[in-house]
Point group: C2
Chain length 249, copies 2
Amino acid sequence: MSKINLDKISTRAPEELDKKATKEKTEAMLVELDDLQNLLFAENQHSVLVVIQGMDASGKDGVIRNVLGNMNPQGVMVKSYKAPVAEELSHDFLWRIHSHAPARGMIQVFNRSHYEDILVTRVHKWIDDELAKKRMNAINAFERLLEEHNNTHILKFYLHVSPEEQHQRLEERLKDPAKMWKYNKNDFKEAKFWGDYRKVYEDCFEYCNNPEWTIVPADQNWYKEYVIAKALRDLLKGLNMQYPGIKKE
Amino acid sequence: MSKINLDKISTRAPEELDKKATKEKTEAMLVELDDLQNLLFAENQHSVLVVIQGMDASGKDGVIRNVLGNMNPQGVMVKSYKAPVAEELSHDFLWRIHSHAPARGMIQVFNRSHYEDILVTRVHKWIDDELAKKRMNAINAFERLLEEHNNTHILKFYLHVSPEEQHQRLEERLKDPAKMWKYNKNDFKEAKFWGDYRKVYEDCFEYCNNPEWTIVPADQNWYKEYVIAKALRDLLKGLNMQYPGIKKE
C-alpha cells in the first residue's frame, strides 16, 4: 500500500453527514453489538483484539466507555498500557502484551498497546531506526501468531485529532473539575512533538499494516464512535457465527 | 544445514571417553556454573532459556536435578509443561510459554516446551503438516523475539536414548518403588510410536534450528550431564560478563 500521509486525512466527519442520524445509527449498532458479543462468547471459536492508539486527548477513554465498554463486561476486557514498570522492562517488549491476548470467545481492548514501543520511544530517540525495524518485524510476527493460532481478529484504530482540537481538550482539563484528574503536566510538552509523532505513526502504518489500520477522524466524538462501532459490528457480523446448541458429551 | 538422521547418531558416549575423568570434569563445571549464574544474575543483562526435550524416560528430570537444579534457585526457574489445560487451550499455543520466558538475569529451564505442539500433536495427527509448518514459523519468530528483544540465549537439547535403553528404564519404573510414581500406563503405548517421533523430531531439527539443537547421547547419565553442563558453561563464559560494581544513582 502507499504511504499514509496524515496531513491529507481529515480529522472531521464528511461534511454531508448528518450528526443526529449518525448518532441514531450508532445507537442501533450498540444494540446489535450486544447480541453479537454474546454470540462470540457462546460460540467460543473466535476472539477479537481492539487496539486503540492516538495522541493524548484524542478520545481513547471516551470510545472505550461509550462503545466498547457498552457490552457484557464478562466478555470484554480492557487493558490500559502505561509506561512499563521494572518487571515488564526485564522482559521482551511483547511479554506484557501477550499475557493479555484475548482467549477464544473474548473481546480484548488495548488502550495504548505494543505500538507505544515504536512510537513514544522513537520520538524521544530512546531506540534507533534499526531497533525500531526489528520491533516492527516482531510485532508483525506476533499479530500473525494471534491470527493464525487463536482465530484472533485484530482491529487497529488510530484516533486522528487535529493539533487545534487536541490543544483545546488539554486546556479543558485545566478548567473542568471533572476532567482535572486527567491533566498531566507532560501532555503539553508531548504535544510539541506533534510532527515527530506524525512521522513515526506514518512509519508504523506502513510497516505494520497487516491487519490494516483504520484512521478514525476524531475531532467529533459522535463520528469517531460511529466509525468504531461500525467496524466492530461489521467484523463480528462477517464471522457468520452460530449458537452451538446443547453440548453432547 | 543438512537434515539430521537420528538413526546415524549414537546414543552413547564416544568409546575413548573415560567415565571417571568425565565425571570429575562435570563436577568442576558445576562449581564454575554456580559462579557464572551468580554473575548472570548480578549483571542483569542477559537471560538464558534451556529447552529440554526427549522421549519418556530419556532422563529429562535427572539432568534438571543434577545439573541445572544445582545452581541458586533464586536465579534458576524450572517450568514443566504438561498437556495444556482448558485456559491454555483457549489461547494461542505460545501464550503459556511466553509468560514463563526468562527475565533478564535469569535462567529458565523448560522440561518439555512449545516443541510438544509440533511433536506429540503430529505423531497423533491432531494437526496436519500445514498447521505444523505454521507453528514452526511461529516458534522461529518467537525465539527471535526472545533473542533480539531480551538478550535471551536459547539452548535446546534433545536427549537421545535408544529404544532399548528407554524400554529398560520404563520397566524399572514398574519394579523400583522409588520410581513407580513415574510410571504412566501410556508410556509403553507412546513408545510404540518411536518411528513417528523420530520423523517429527528430525523435521523440527530441520525447520527450527536457529538457534541450533544439541543432540545429546543420553543412554549414560554421566555423559548426558557432562554435555549439558559443558554447553551451559561455555555459553555463560562466552558472554564475558562483569560484576556491575556499586550503583551510582
